[in-house]
Symmetry: C2
């Protein structure tokens, strides 16, 4: 039993196969009676149009490619889910490729997507070289970079306003009476992190607060392990901070572990804040106050950028407003 095609339908309906195509595409150039008859026959014969063939002639696939540094990372999987929702609402499917934080693999995946003739590619970057790497491919397929390691210019990107997020956090701590805070996990490697750190410095200056730094020299990622190590280092020679603001939630989770192991109570002895609002932070026993990156908004912005890209001559970016999520890891002093 072979797949039923448009020609089989045409034969049964006794029309040309162009007419079947018209019935299916909702064209107006067709009689109401024939349309209904054809549609009924399609239904009876379980006909499902071949999107490969359709893509071939229409030169669009209605597929969006996603190259992500991880599928499993909670922040990213939430973002991917948001992208899938947005794509689906607009008649697109998602082809999801994992770069596993590997720049070479990222290039391969990107190139593969190009060959698939996807209508656009959303990249959640594997590293700070990502943009340079991928923008060297000459292609007319629109590309947008989301969330991290954002380039200076020349490409589409969407990210939250990291400086504003930092300020949100610092202001909140200030309102709680904190005057001296530790900013944990500053890292030079990524622009995102630099913007956050700069935001902290600016906000502290503006609000008359003191900030001390515990940098993450490790060029690895902002992992829980790094957070734990850094926090322990601080606990060993504390400088009187009443709150720790971590560059990411993963670091905050690690700092929380360090505190537990070193007998430092949160929030009684020290307040703790993260950044990202990954789902982990909402768990019982964790309850970390943090700055949310609204993934659905980011997904919509990325989609807009991709589908409207032809309209805009000059490449541009979209900045998303972060949001404070208060839980139980901070107290007033």
């Amino acid at each position: 039993m072979d797949k039923v095609t448009i020609k089989d339908i045409a034969k049964v309906a006794d029309v040309s196969y162009a007419t079947v195509s018209r019935a299916l595409s909702g064209s107006s150039e067709i009689g109401e009676a024939t349309r209904e008859r054809i549609l009924r026959i399609c239904d009876e014969m379980n006909y499902i149009p071949d999107s490969v063939a359709r893509s071939m002639v229409k030169k669009r696939t209605n597929i969006l490619g996603v190259v992500t540094a991880s599928i499993n990372n909670p922040f990213m999987s939430e973002l991917i889910e948001a992208i899938e929702i947005t794509a689906r609402e607009n008649g697109y499917n998602l082809m999801v490729c994992n770069s596993a934080y590997d720049l070479e693999l990222e290039k391969r995946q990107f190139s593969l997507l190009l060959g698939r003739r996807v209508d656009g590619i959303i990249v959640i970057p594997a590293g700070k070289e990502t943009v340079a790497n991928l923008s060297s491919y000459s292609t007319d397929i629109p590309v947008v970079y989301v969330s991290e390691n954002i380039p200076d210019a020349g490409q589409f990107f969407v990210a939250i306003d990291n400086a504003a997020g930092a300020k949100l956090a610092v202001s909140y701590l200030q309102s709680l009476g904190h005057r001296k805070i530790l900013y944990l996990g500053r890292r030079e490697g990524s622009l995102t992190h630099r913007l956050r750190a700069e935001g902290v410095v600016a906000a502290c200056r503006e609000l008359g607060m003191e900030v001390v730094f515990k940098d993450n020299d490790n060029d690895g990622k902002s992992s829980m392990e790094a957070g734990c190590r850094l926090a322990k280092e601080y606990f060993r020679s504390p400088e009187g901070c009443t709150a720790i603001f971590c560059a990411t939630d993963a670091l905050a989770l690690g700092a929380m572990q360090a505190a537990d192991e070193d007998g430092v109570r949160i929030p009684e002895d020290i307040s703790l804040m993260g950044f990202d609002n990954i789902s982990f932070t909402a768990l019982p026993r964790i309850g970390i106050t943090t700055i949310e990156q609204p993934q659905l908004e980011m997904a919509r912005a990325a989609f807009e950028l991709i589908t409207r890209s032809s309209e805009e001559e000059n490449r541009q970016s979209i900045s998303i407003e972060p949001r404070l999520v208060v839980r139980t890891s901070c107290r007033s002093v």
Copy 2:
């Protein structure tokens, strides 16, 4: 500047475009010299073969469809990542569709993938009606159901041996000296859950242990909220159990929250186990001992089933062995 096609290459190389195709496909029916020359030209002209056109004639897309109940759910996102890895290793890309636990949407997504002419579909079911719903589509595309709500027969599926997992947990608790345990969250709705519950009953009988049940009548999901509610009900009228074994990690997380709120200490007052080994359970302050479903193994099994499906006449299933993951939520009594 238009996309460069096989014809452009042919023109430059001054050969027929069939020859270019042969050079690219690694055919043996071509001179070594011409092949190298053509490949070099392809490289110079940044030629990327059009997989849509290729799929059109080869009648395979090298795309695997995934219909999942959630992208964001930690267990599923880990499973999807594992599927992506397996697929990539074998030259496939993934088209990921979210059913959002919605059976109607699940059907639509499935049908869409059929139209996309994917080479196989992996379904992480949205509910117990999933298999009945989807197997009504007549198609020659192989389908495999993974992980939950498994049918009785007639379809490919891969799942862990839930009864064995239950036994693993019960034996572990027994070895710790527990003699009476609470099984929290039994649910009639899903076969997976029924198998787990039956496994618990069998293991307890075998090991001479007593088990009391706290069922999840709620036909909703095995959520943290349900776990919290159920555990609180139990705490209100305890029956002397020294350990709680939850049907899923999500329930266990909820039970942990309930314990915290009711002043019940874990593991001092009562031991706690989960099932699934979602990443949450490994977090500091959580540390729930649980039964792991090895996602990579499951992904490989699903892939095998799909790609070998033509070889096997009779549909079959693969059962994966679960594994005990010991953390800090249980103590010996």
